[in-house]
Symmetry: C2
Subunit: 347 residues, 2 copies
DNA sequence: TTGTACGCGTTATCAC
DNA sequence: GTGATAACGCGTACAA
């Protein structure tokens, strides 16, 4: 029976352990806490640990938090966990935080500022030790609000313009340049861009990356070939693509700001019987799950969302260890994945 | 400045509110708590509420929880949030719980029993008021363990054999029958089944549904045409499909236990130049995101995971309100979505 | 109707 | 090295 865990439904507290080990609760607390264990006699400590093990003692983080003003909990705000971009980010955050004993507390904001406010206030009430958010747009007051409240803040996936705010994102600019360079190298001259909303750093930076890469490729971007869609969705992507084609600018390739927008383009190709990549090439961004199963398999930019999540968690741990440490911004290097939606221009 | 929220970084406590309203903390507590408000003078209550508002008071759930032994927090265990099946379930759970003031606390177990144990123990330590888990297999001791610990438990997506455990799942049996009936109605006689692991109720029930529907369609299931794959994955689906074909049973259609398995079949079709649905039809299960974008678009069974999540949350709230209420099991009606991976048998 | 006093489970600060 | 005690913020008997 030794080693058998007790399955008492009544919670066993520090007092119970202390009593079993025949020491004072204060001593038991020190013995159980790795940082203070050195203050207590080795032998006594062992006795306490054994008693704790035997009774199946689990320290009560609530009581601990009341005393220490820490909850070992980090609030994580995402627009919508249903968007396949976020689950791997969340896992990265969770896995890394867990190593240091922190637990994430997630909420979906649906890209609604007011909802985001409510959510982070709720989290604040729940005594989270910090907030990681993927919901901020470039000028979002939420960043300032949270910082002003004294809570450590880390942005993930999207940055805010202020470089003093910690952030872990893919290098959106470099990623889009990869895509455009690829199209240029295939021989395209009339390259269009369907951007995401410029309020988001992702949309903004990819747009900039597009312009840069074009110029470096010796191509002056044609304003007729640049459309900013209203959202990173298949629907808005399709709408933007239709307008692009209706303008008749003669594009032979499209650099889309994300995979869903690219998918919207696919829909329009079907509507208008356009051959991809024969008549028109498309590149996406994110390499979302199953991008390789689309028809045609989508050429896109892979961003490693899991690693982005891990990086965000690391920035948070940094801020937690030393709140006055210099805020860093991490940008992860993306990678081009060439599949079958891009080819040489027609003719 | 009235109505302006204070942005003090020092937390404001019940005491501060009481002082501002010139009452004792006890009174303030009663005024702030909806259930005890009636015990206090209407006017005084208003004064307290105004003070709380003005100071931006947020009750500390940690302190409250210490006193009341409730955290208003529900632990949610999923195998892997990265599996597209789970995000909508999670959102359903979150949205419904939120209405009643509860917050979910999620953890990924990677289908590892030991990890699940650790996770729920951690959650127990964090004083969650209940556990919703999507990780249980049919004979999983975790269900008994959690119940024994006195924590309300609800299973989601997967059941456990014991009907005394609350569960919200799709009606897997009925769903698979829908798929098989569809294939029968197309004229197929040699219908194969690639099942998921029978340890999971999902794999088990769909397998049963397959057998039932076959017999009702007047077809005796051929053991040669039934293969149970080792996991609900594309890879294992492909492996199973290869074995099925190698057996040479002459199947003209496959009822796959989920969409990923069906996708594995697609891979094998490509390897062996099999035309789908010309030579071989396939039906999946779940209607996962982008199932309509596969090549060919996948005929599958839609299960409404969001609603499954909502139902699970509702069962939990029920258990919370009345721990002795009769445990219910909810099975949501699935729906067949016919696309292009199924057609009449060849010849 | 309101004030008082205690306790929830822990940790920190003292003494010893 | 260990024990006693107070305190974290709140809820709630009980007293007034």
């Amino acid at each position: 029976m030794a080693g058998q865990r007790e399955m008492t439904s009544a919670r066993v507290t520090l007092r119970d352990v202390a009593r079993a080990a025949d020491v004072h609760p204060g001593t038991a607390s020190r013995a159980l806490n790795a940082e203070t264990r050195s203050l207590v006699n080795e032998e006594t400590a062992q006795r306490v640990l054994r008693a704790a093990e035997q009774l199946g003692y689990l320290p009560n983080p609530i009581a601990r938090g009341l005393k220490t003003n820490r909850s070992y909990t980090i609030g994580v705000l995402v627009p919508d966990i249903t968007n396949p971009l976020f689950p791997p980010i969340l896992r990265g955050i969770e896995d890394r935080l867990e190593e240091d004993g922190y637990t994430p507390l997630m909420a979906n904001t649906d890209n609604d500022r007011e909802r985001a406010r409510i959510d982070w206030q709720t989290m604040r009430a729940r005594q989270v030790d910090g907030i990681i958010t993927a919901t901020a747009d470039r000028t979002d007051p939420i960043a300032e609000e949270i910082t002003d409240s004294g809570l450590p803040l880390v942005l993930v996936n999207r940055r805010v313009d202020d470089p003093a705010v910690r952030a872990a994102t893919p290098d959106d600019r470099a990623g889009m340049r990869l895509a455009v360079e690829h199209l240029v190298s295939l021989g395209h001259h009339r390259i269009a861009h369907i951007g995401g909303p410029l309020e988001f750093s992702s949309g903004h930076d990819r747009h900039e990356g597009f312009l840069e890469a074009m110029r470096e490729g010796g191509l002056e971007p044609d304003p007729d070939l640049v459309i900013i869609s209203k959202a990173f969705t298949e629907l808005e992507g399709a709408t933007a693509c239709r307008e692009l084609l209706d303008r008749g600018g003669g594009a032979t390739a499209i650099a889309a700001s994300n995979d869903l927008i690219a998918l919207g383009c696919y829909d329009v190709f079907l509507e208008r019987s356009i051959d991809c990549p024969g008549q028109l090439s498309v590149a996406g961004f994110n390499d979302m799950p199953f991008a390789d199963r689309f028809q045609p398999p989508l050429t896109t930019v892979r961003i490693r969302p899991y690693e982005v999540g891990v990086a965000a968690a690391e920035l948070m741990l940094e801020a937690l260890r030393d709140p006055d440490s210099e805020p860093r911004q991490v940008q992860l290097r993306p990678e081009l994945v060439v599949r079958e939606s891009t080819g040489p221009p027609p003719g």
